[in-house]
Amino acid sequence: MKISHRIKDRLIQLFMISMLGIILIAYYHIELSPYPYKGYEMADNLFKKHDADLNESIVLTRFGIMKQYDTVVESLNSLYNTVNIFESLIKKQPDPDLSKRLQNLKNIIIKKDHLITDFKRLNPIVINATHDFSRIMSQIIDSETQADIVERFSIQNYKPEHYEYLNKLNSLFKEILIYTSSPTEERYNNSVSLINSIKNDPQKDAQVDLALRYAQTILSYSAKLIQIDKAILLLPVLDELNQLTQYFKKDYIEYSQTINFYQYAFYILSVLLLIMVHLAFKRLQNIVQALDDSNQLLEQRVAQRTKDLANKNEDLNKAMVDLHEAQDQLIMKEKMASIGMLTTGVAHEIKNPLNFINNFSELSRSLSSELKTILEKEKAQFSENTYLDLRDISSDIESNCQKIQEYGVRADNIVNSMLMHSKESSAQKEMTKLHPLIEGAADLAIHNHKTQYPTFQVKLEKNFDPNLDKTFIAASAISQACISILNNACWALQEKLKSDPTFMPIIRINTQKQGHIAVLTFFDNGIGIPEANILKVFEPFFTTRPTGLGNTGLGLSIAYDIITKQHKGEFGVNSKTNEYTEFTIKIPINPQDHI
C-alpha cells in the first residue's frame, strides 16, 4: 500500500510533536518537579542536632552546671518544629508508611516531653534538697566536732551514745550523698534505717529533723529522677529517626532512578529530534531549491513563448501588410486596366471626329486666308466700312480656325497618349544597358525643365550598381517612364524652391542588383506627396500640377503600365510631405525571371 505524501508528512509531524511532548514531560520531571521530600536530610540533621542539644542541656541541668531550663525548652520546641518540617514534607506527597514512621517519632518525642516535664519538676527539688541537706549536715557536723574537741578534754563528759549518734549522722551524710549519684536499694535501706534510728534518738534537735526531712526527700526523689534521666536518654529517638530517614532515603533512590530514566530519555529524544529537525530542514531546502529551479525554467519558457508569439505576430502583421499591398496593387491594376481600356476605346472613337475637326479647321484657315486676299483685291467694290467689317470678320474666322486647330492638335496629342496604353506590347524588348538609358532620361528631363525655368539648379547624385549590366527591357518605354518620374521630381523641387529660395534641390538615382532583379530608385527632396494622394498618383488624369504645358496627368499612369504590365515589374512610391518623394522600380533582369 502506498501512503500519500500528505499523510506521510502528517505522520512525521505528529511524531515530532509527540516527541517534543515527551521531551517536555521528561524536562518537567528532571528540572521542574523537584524531589517531593527535598530537605529531609536537613531536617534529619536539625533533628539530630536539637536532640543532642536537648540531651546535653538535660545533663547540664541535672548536675546543676546549668541552672536554667530555657535551653531545654528551646531544644524541645525545636524538636517539635523539626517534626513539623517532616510533616509538611510528607504533606506534599502523602505516604502512609512515612506518616506511620513520623507518628512513631512524634510519639517518642511526646514521651520524652512528658519525661522532661517530670525531670524539670523533680530536678530542682533534688538539687535544693541536696544543697540544703549538705549545708545543714555540714553545719551540724561542724558544730558537733567543735563540741567534741571541747568534750574530749573533759573525759568525764564522754558519752558513747553521743559518739554513736554523731557517727550515725556522719554515715547518713555519706550514704545520702553517694545515693544521689548511684542509688542502690542497699544504700536506700541503710539510709532509711539510719534515718529511723536518728529520728528515734533523743539527742536529735530541730536542725537534725530538718536534715532528715531533706534526706527523706532525696531518698524519695533521687531514684525516680535517675530513672527519669535514664528513661530520657535511653529513649530510642534516634532509632525512630533513622527508620524515618531510611524510608526517605529509599524513596529518594527510587526517585533518582526515575529521574535518571527521564534524563536518558530526554537526551536521546533531544538528539533524535535535532536529527529530525535537521532532516526536515534539509528536505525543505531541497524543495525550495527545486521550486526555484522550476520557477526559473518556467520563466525561461514564458520568455521563449512570448518571443515566439511576438515573432509570429510580426510575421502576421507583415503578411497582413503584404496582403493589403497586394490587394491595393490588385485593385490598382484592375482600375488601371479598366481605365486603360476605357481610354483606348474612347480615344479610338474620338480620333476620327478629331481628324475631321483638325483637317477642316486647317482647311477653313487656308480658306479664310484666301478670303482675305480676295477681299483685298475686291476692296474697291465695297464701301470703306463694309470692307473693314469683312476684313475683321475674316481675321476673326482665321484666328478662330487657328484656335480650333490648336486645341484640336492638343486633343489629338491626348488621344495619342491615351492610345499609348494600348500600344504596350508593341515595343520590342531586348537586353539593354540600363545606366546610359537612365542618364539620358535624366539629362533630358532636367534640361527640359531648365528651358521653362532657366534659374533652376539641381544636384544630381547617381549611385549606379556596377554589377547591374544589361536588362531585358523595352528601352524607349523605360526611358519614357523615367522621364515622367523625373519631370515630376523637378516640378516638386521647383515648388519647394518657391516657398524657400535657400533650399538646395537634390535628385538621387540609385540602381542595385538584387539577385535577378534590377532595382531603380528615384529620390528627390521636394515637397513630397500628401498622404491622401499617395494612392492616386498612378491613376490616369490625376495631377496636382496646372494643366497645359504638355501636362496631361497621364505620365505616371503610363509609366505604371509600362513597368507593371509591359515589364512584369513593380512600381512603388514612398513619400513624406515637404521632405522627400521616392519612386522605386523593380524589373526582372532576364526574360525568364519574374518577381
Binding site: V73, T117, R121, P124, I125, L233
Partner: protein
C-alpha cells in the same frame, strides 16, 4: 551524638568529671537568669497587623456580652492583668507571654495562638461566638478590612507578642551595669540564689519554663476550706494523680505589680508570699531580714511597661 551518650554515662560515675564538662557546655548561657531581649522591629505589614491587634485587644465587641475586651482582664497599666478577689484563679499577666513555655496556670497549651483562641471562645472569659460575633464586629465598621476569625487571632497574637517588658533594672544589671542594683538588692539576688528559689525561678522570665508541685514539703491545700477545680492544676490536663497540685512556675517579671499572689490570689504582699514559698517549697523558713532583701531584689524585676 553517640559520643555524648557515652559522656553522660561517664559523668554519672564521677562528679569530679563535671568540671571538665564545663568546657564542653560553654555554648550555653550559663547564667541562671538572662535579660529579656528587645522587641524585634516589625515590617510594615506586620505593623499593620499589630495595629489591628491593638484595636481588637481593646474592643469589647470581641466578647459575647459586648462589654468585655481583652484589656478588661489584661490591663496594661495594672501589670498586664487585673487583681481578683481572694480565692479566685489569678489572671496571668499578658506581659512577656511570647516567652512562656506553656500558657495558663495548668499549662494546657504551649501555643500563644491557642491560648488567645481559647480565651476568646471560653464562655467564662470572652465568650466570643465566631458566627454572630464576626457579623457584629464587621457591622461596627470600625475596621478597614473584613475580619475573619483567623485574622483576629493572628492580629491579636502579633500584638500580644509585642507586649514585653524589657530593660528592668535587674536586666541592666545582668547586661553588665553593676550600678543598676543597690547593695541590698544585690544581696537579695544572692539570697534568692542561695536559698534555692533560683532552682525553679530561672531563665528569661525567672520562671515560666518548668512545672512544679505547690507544697513540696508542706501540704498547701490542706489548710484550704474548699478545694476548687483549678487547684488540681496540671492534673486537669493529664489526669495523672502525680500531677495533682502541679502548676506552671509563674514568671517573677513585674512581680511587684501583680499582687495578690499564687494561683488562687490568696496572698497580698511580696513578703508574705516569699515566706510562704520558703515554707511550702523549700521546707525551711527564711529569716524576715533575708525576706526583706529578697523582696527588694524582686522589686528590681519590674521592666518597661508597654504603652497602650
Amino acid at each position: 551524638m553517640h559520643k555524648i551518650n557515652g559522656l553522660i554515662i561517664l559523668l554519672g560515675i564521677t562528679a569530679g568529671l563535671q568540671l571538665s564538662f564545663c568546657a564542653f557546655a560553654i555554648q550555653f548561657d550559663q547564667r541562671p537568669i538572662t535579660p529579656i531581649p528587645p522587641n524585634p522591629v516589625p515590617t510594615k505589614a506586620e505593623q499593620k497587623n499589630i495595629d489591628l491587634g491593638r484595636q481588637l485587644f481593646n474592643d469589647p465587641n470581641l466578647s459575647g456580652n459586648q462589654k468585655t475586651s481583652c484589656a478588661t482582664c489584661h490591663n496594661l497599666s495594672q501589670g498586664g492583668r487585673v487583681p481578683r478577689p481572694k480565692g479566685q484563679l489569678k489572671i496571668p499577666s499578658i506581659f512577656n507571654s511570647r516567652y512562656n513555655f506553656k500558657q495558663f496556670w495548668n499549662a494546657r497549651t504551649p501555643y500563644l495562638e491557642n491560648a488567645i483562641k481559647s480565651s476568646l471562645l471560653d464562655p467564662t472569659m470572652m465568650g466570643f461566638n465566631p458566627k454572630t460575633g464576626l457579623i457584629n464586629l464587621n457591622n461596627t465598621k470600625k475596621y478597614n478590612s473584613r475580619l475573619t476569625f483567623e485574622k483576629i487571632i493572628s492580629a491579636l497574637t502579633a500584638y500580644v507578642e509585642m507586649l514585653n517588658t524589657p530593660n528592668s533594672r535587674f536586666d541592666r544589671f545582668l547586661e553588665g551595669n553593676t550600678q543598676a542594683l543597690t547593695d541590698s538588692e544585690k544581696k537579695g539576688y544572692a539570697l534568692f540564689q542561695s536559698y534555692g528559689c533560683i532552682s525553679c525561678h530561672q531563665g528569661v522570665l525567672i520562671g515560666e519554663n518548668i512545672l512544679q508541685k505547690l507544697g513540696i514539703y508542706n501540704d498547701y491545700f490542706s489548710s484550704k476550706p474548699k478545694l476548687e477545680n483549678f487547684d488540681l492544676g496540671y492534673y486537669n490536663v493529664t489526669n495523672n494523680p502525680n500531677d495533682r497540685f502541679v502548676f506552671k512556675v509563674p514568671s517573677l517579671r513585674n512581680v511587684a505589680l501583680t499582687a495578690p499572689y499564687l494561683h488562687d490570689s490568696s496572698i497580698d504582699t511580696l513578703n508574705e508570699v516569699v515566706e510562704k514559698m520558703a515554707f511550702y517549697q523549700l521546707g525551711h523558713p527564711i529569716p524576715s531580714e533575708d525576706i526583706k532583701y529578697i523582696v527588694e531584689f524582686l522589686n528590681t524585676l519590674t521592666g518597661e511597661i508597654p504603652k497602650k
